[in-house]
Symmetry: C2
Subunit: 259 residues, 2 copies
């Protein structure tokens, strides 16, 4: 499997199209609807996903699509696109430019290409098979961190840990690292891939929240798995741990699985 120029061209067009829509709505008064899980959604989320779905279907009608707002279409296909039109909608609706559009391409269930586009800051991270991770075409890489006790950790919110074992697992890691920082959504993983953050530990995520981040983190030299150390895919349980250094990742897994 290698990424064709056509695929790489399409993903750039998808990110461009997403940014055009989002910039039109950012910091404008738009209605915010509450979804069944009480997460917010706006016309911007929906319009971005509709735009991306149309562009993908036009180019590759045989590919599957799994998007946050409009669900799954032929997800048993060889290639499946996994899309979060706005990851960090709470940041978006409060005017904070730290959300991102996430676009992943999966081949036989494995994420092989990922893009994180931040359209206000005009920052685009991309990584994939034979495609070292870049920020606006400049190569980026993770940094070394020999020990968990020296690590800077990001997590979007303390409230994303709901099950008692997740609360305890996160607390074990948080009590072992140097500095915990909250907020960030997908942007925290991009900072990790760029060598400014050592570890991200999260839970309660969906496939569209992390599939694009897998190639971005891995092709910058990092590790990203579920809390058992297993590869992330459409059927993971929503727990994610990413680290720039394999030693920190291994130490975190021990803390997360303390039983």
């Amino acid at each position: 499997m290698s990424l064709s120029p056509e695929i790489l061209g399409l993903v750039q067009r998808l990110a461009d199209a997403s940014g055009t829509v989002i910039r039109r709505y950012f910091r404008t008064p738009i209605a915010v609807d509450d979804k069944a899980d009480s997460s917010p959604v706006t016309i911007a989320d929906r319009e971005v996903e509709q735009t991306l779905r149309a562009l993908i279907t036009q180019a590759y009608p045989e590919h599957g699509i799994y998007g946050e707002e409009f669900g799954q279409t032929q997800c048993d296909a060889e290639y499946v696109w996994v899309i979060d039109p706005i990851d960090g909608t709470k940041s978006f609706i409060t005017g904070k430019p730290l959300f991102g559009t996430l676009i992943a391409l999966l081949h036989h269930g494995k994420p092989v290409l990922g893009v994180l586009d931040q359209p206000i800051l005009r920052e685009r991270w991309m990584g994939g098979v034979d495609l070292p991770t870049s920020l606006n075409t400049q190569a980026v890489k993770v940094r070394a961190c020999a020990d968990l006790s020296q690590a800077i950790l990001y997590a979007t919110s303390p409230h994303m840990f709901v099950k008692p074992e997740h609360v305890q697992g996160f607390a074990n890691v948080r009590d072992s690292i140097k500095t915990p920082i909250y907020g960030g959504d997908c942007y925290a993983y991009a900072l990790l891939a760029t060598g400014f953050v050592d570890i991200v530990v999260e839970a309660s995520l969906s496939p569209y929240d992390y599939c694009a981040l897998v190639p971005i983190v891995e092709n910058a030299g990092g590790i990203i798995t579920d809390w058992q150390g297993q590869p992330l895919g459409l059927h993971s349980n929503g727990c994610v741990v990413a680290a720039g250094d394999a030693r920190v990742h291994a130490q975190a897994l021990e803390k997360l699985n303390w039983v």
Copy 2:
């Protein structure tokens, strides 16, 4: 007391000078030192504050200065400048452009002018006596929010609430609002002043963390006080509650003072 053109010119020069220094260091590999309270500090924090102190002393040798990194100089003066060179150093050192330079001018202890400058996004909020709050010279204002249950709340970190009564007070508010969002430092108050956030509740702050935010929030139509509803000044206890709507502020004070 009115703000002279000379004062307003100086504060713009201070913010310009700060941004020039910070942009030189942002996302570059610089050493991070841990202060006595284990908060991080860098050469950028120190160089910004030294630069601003020099400019202030040159223009107004009789004014006092209170900065995060180099302490207090003649703070019994009629006019005192209160400076946080980089509020949100943890964001700064992790490459996240949500920190800000905070510059306040106090007259007889009362904050009469405030600037928040975000040099990467090139956003500058300013507000003061007879100076409606603006973002890059465009007037901004808070939004209405009739009830705490509909409010979007920001707090930089759950770990800033340390004393048991602060932990409980914050929990009371957090359990009463619609959506809690973490991270942001000073930027959360700027978003509140711009009408995208309803309430910010924080603790363990220092005067340089909030003095500049008082004129910015108040001259956008909002309210910002300590947790007892008292005006903020150099001798406040570090607990801050800001709201865009007086009704939300009053409801939050009740929750914070539940005893």
